[in-house]
C-alpha cells in the first residue's frame, strides 16, 4: 500500500483487519518518515528496532485472531511516560541517563491493546513551557510553513508529540496536559488532541510536574482517532490513588454526529482584549456550525476566568517545587559532586535543571515558605475551588462549552516571548479547565491570514469525554480542515 501514511488510525485498523496492510508495513512506513523528518527534532529517542519487533508480534496476534483496540498502530510516546528499558528524560539534563525499570500504566495499557512504540517524543523540560523551547534536547520545529520561511513553534509542552502527528512521523501520540500542554500544541500543529477528566487516565509512571493538574491524553489526526486511543489509555489504576474507579465507555460509539437540542455555552470572558479578529471570526464560525446542526447557543459567564492564570502560577509551581525535590543526585539521574552533601544537592540541581524549571521551583518554594503559605498557596486553592464551582454552575445550563484554544496562531521560534509572564498568557483559554479538572479537546478549524492552523476548544462536564468528542465531530465535519 503506497499511501499508508495517509490513513487515519481508524483507517489503518480497518486496512489491517481486511488484510490489505500489515503492522510491519505500516510501522516501516512510519520509521522511514521519522528519518525523513528528523530535522523537526520531534523525537528525543527513536526506537525503530523495538517498533519492528512489536509490529511483528502484533501481526502474529492478528493472524491468531487476537486484536486489541490499538492493534498494530505505531505511536510516539511523550518522553514523560516511563518506558521499561527505554531512556526516559522528561527533556531534562538531570534525567538524561535515566532508564526506567518499570512501565507507566498508560503505556502498559496501550501496548497490551496492541500499540507499537516508535520512540519518545520531545517536550518542554518537565512539561514546563508553551513552546517546547525549554527542552534540554533542543527546539522542535512546527511542520507548518509560512511564506516568510521562518520556523514556527509547535507549542508545548507536548510539542514533539503534536509535531510528529502533523508531520506523519507517528500515527498518534500520547501527551500530558497540566495547563494546556495537549490542547495548545494541537492547535498550533493543526491536529486534534484531548485531555480527559482529571483521574480518567492513570498518572502512575508519568514523571510528575503538578500532581493535582497533570493528566495524560492523546493526539491524533481526527476526533475518531482520539476516541479510539483514549479508550485504550484510560481506566482505573489502583497504583494511582487519584485515578477514578469508573467504567470507560466506548468513546467511538458515542460519536453520533447528532447534537440536536444540545446547549453549547459561549463564555463572554473569553473575548479578551487584543484577541485577533480572525480568532474571533473562527469562534463565531464554530457557533454557526453548531447552531446549523441543531444545537442551541447559550451566552454564559465565567467571571473568574482572568484569575485562572494567576491561580495556576501559584499552584503548579508549588506542586512542582515539591515533586522535583526528588532530584537530589542520590537515587537516579545526574550527580555533580560538591564539598558536602548540601553542596552536592545544590550543584546537581543547579546544573541539572534549566532556567524555566529553576524559576518554577523558586516560585513554588517561595509561596510555600513560612509566612507566605496562607497568603499565596491557600488563597490560590480557595480561588481554584471558586473557579470549579463557576464551571459546575454553568453546567446546570449547558452541555458543553466552545472557546478558541489559543489567543494566536503559532509564533516563530525566533520571536517567542522571552518574558516568562508573556509566555504564560498563551494558556489563557486552556488553564481554567485544567484547574477545574474538566475534559477538553482542541481541533483544527481554520487557517490564519498567514496560513497557519487555528484551533477551537470544546470543554465538557466531568467524565463526559464522549459528549466532547461528539460535539467536536460536528465541528470537524463542518470545518473540512485540510491536514498536512
Amino acid at each position: 500500500m503506497s499511501n499508508a501514511l495517509d490513513l487515519t488510525l481508524a483507517g489503518a485498523l480497518s486496512a489491517m483487519d481486511k488484510g490489505e496492510l500489515s503492522s510491519v508495513e505500516l510501522t516501516q512506513a512510519y520509521i522511514d518518515q521519522m528519518a525523513a523528518t528528523k530535522a523537526l527534532n520531534a523525537y528525543i529517542t527513536e526506537t525503530p528496532d523495538i517498533a519492528l519487533e512489536m509490529a511483528r508480534a502484533s501481526d502474529a496476534r492478528r493472524a491468531g485472531g487476537q486484536t486489541g483496540i490499538m492493534e498494530g498502530i505505531p505511536v510516539g510516546i511523550k518522553d514523560l511516560f516511563c518506558t521499561k528499558g527505554t531512556r526516559t528524560t522528561a527533556a531534562s539534563h538531570i534525567l538524561d541517563n535515566f532508564v526506567p525499570t518499570y512501565e507507566s500504566t498508560v503505556t502498559s495499557n496501550l501496548f497490551s491493546q496492541g500499540a507499537v512504540m516508535l520512540g519518545k517524543t520531545n517536550l518542554d523540560e518537565f512539561a514546563m513551557g508553551s513552546s517546547n523551547q525549554t527542552s534540554y534536547f533542543g527546539d522542535v520545529v512546527n511542520p507548518w510553513k509560512t511564506s516568510d520561511g521562518k520556523n514556527r513553534a509547535p507549542g508545548g509542552s507536548s510539542g514533539g508529540s503534536a509535531a510528529a502527528v502533523a508531520a506523519k512521523s507517528a500515527l498518534a501520540t500520547t501527551g500530558t496536559d497540566t495547563g494546556g500542554s495537549i490542547r495548545q500544541p494541537a492547535a498550533f500543529c493543526g491536529i486534534t488532541g484531548i485531555k480527559p477528566t482529571y483521574g480518567r487516565c492513570s498518572r502512575w509512571g508519568v514523571v510528575a510536574f503538578a500532581s493535582s493538574l497533570d493528566q495524560p491524553g492523546c493526539f491524533g489526526r481526527t476526533v475518531e482517532d482520539n476516541a479510539i486511543m483514549l479508550r485504550a489509555m484510560a481506566g482505573y489504576d489502583p497504583k494511582d490513588s487519584t485515578s477514578i474507579e469508573r467504567a470507560v465507555p466506548d468513546y467511538r460509539a458515542q460519536i453520533t454526529g447528532n447534537i440536536k437540542g444540545k446547549k453549547i455555552g459561549i463564555p463572554k470572558e473569553y473575548r479578551v482584549d487584543g484577541m485577533p479578529a480572525e480568532i474571533e471570526k473562527l469562534w463565531q464560525q464554530g457557533m454557526d456550525w453548531l447552531r446549523d446542526s441543531g444545537a442551541e447557543i447559550v451566552d454564559i459567564s465565567l467571571p473568574l476566568t482572568d484569575k485562572a492564570l494567576p491561580t495556576y502560577y501559584i499552584i503548579a509551581p508549588a506542586e512542582a517545587s515539591s515533586n522535583l525535590a526528588r532530584y537530589d543526585g542520590v537515587r537516579y539521574g545526574l550527580r555533580v559532586e560538591g564539598v558536602d552533601l548540601d553542596d552536592m544537592y545544590a550543584k546537581t540541581r543547579g546544573e541539572g535543571f534549566g532556567e524555566e524549571v529553576k524559576r518554577r521551583i523558586m516560585i513554588g518554594t517561595y509561596v510555600l515558605s513560612a509566612g507566605y503559605y496562607d497568603a499565596y498557596y491557600n488563597k490560590a486553592r480557595r480561588v481554584r475551588k471558586m473557579i470549579l464551582n463557576e464551571f459546575l454552575d454553568v453546567y446546570n445550563q449547558v452541555d458543553a462549552i466552545l472557546t478558541p484554544t489559543t489567543p494566536s496562531a503559532a509564533f516563530t521560534l525566533d520571536d517567542a516571548p522571552s518574558d516568562p509572564v508573556t509566555m504564560y498568557l498563551n494558556d489563557v483559554f486552556t488553564v481554567p479547565a485544567s484547574l477545574a479538572g474538566l475534559p477538553g479537546l482542541s481541533l483544527p478549524a481554520g487557517l490564519s491570514s498567514e496560513g497557519l492552523p487555528l484551533g477551537l476548544q470544546v470543554l465538557g462536564k466531568p467524565f463526559e469525554e464522549g459528549e466532547v468528542l461528539n460535539v467536536a465531530s460536528v465541528l470537524e465535519a463542518a470545518a473540512g480542515f485540510q491536514r498536512l
Binding site: T101, K307, A346, T365, Y366, V421
Partner: protein, 95 residues
C-alpha cells in the same frame, strides 16, 4: 510584589538550587514579575471558601496493610549514581 536579591539567595538555599551570581539579577527580576502577576488574586474575596483538595470526588483508598511488592534491590538501585552493596551512597554527612 518585588523581591530582592537576598530573598532569592535565601529561597535558592531552601530549594537546594545553585544559582550563580550572574543569574541572580535576572532571577530576581523574573520572580518579581511573576509574583506581581499572581497578586491579581488579591482582588478576589475568597473568605469562607474551603481550599480545594481535589477536583473530583475522591476518597483515600484503603487496602490491607501487607507487603505486596519488593525484593529486587538491583532494579531499585539500577539508576543510582553511586551505591555500596545494596545501599545508595552519599557524601559523608557525620564527622
Amino acid at each position: 510584589m518585588a523581591i530582592d536579591r537576598d530573598t532569592v539567595t535565601r529561597v535558592a538555599f531552601l530549594a537546594r538550587l545553585d544559582i550563580d551570581d550572574a543569574q541572580k539579577d535576572a532571577m530576581t527580576h523574573d520572580l518579581s514579575n511573576i509574583l506581581t502577576f499572581v497578586e491579581a488574586l488579591n482582588d478576589v474575596d475568597a473568605s469562607g471558601v474551603e481550599p480545594m483538595t481535589s477536583v473530583v470526588e475522591a476518597y483515600a483508598p484503603l487496602r490491607e496493610d501487607k507487603v505486596t511488592d519488593g525484593g529486587y534491590p538491583d532494579k531499585v538501585l539500577k539508576n543510582a549514581p553511586d551505591r555500596v552493596q545494596d545501599f545508595y551512597a552519599v557524601p559523608k554527612v557525620v564527622e
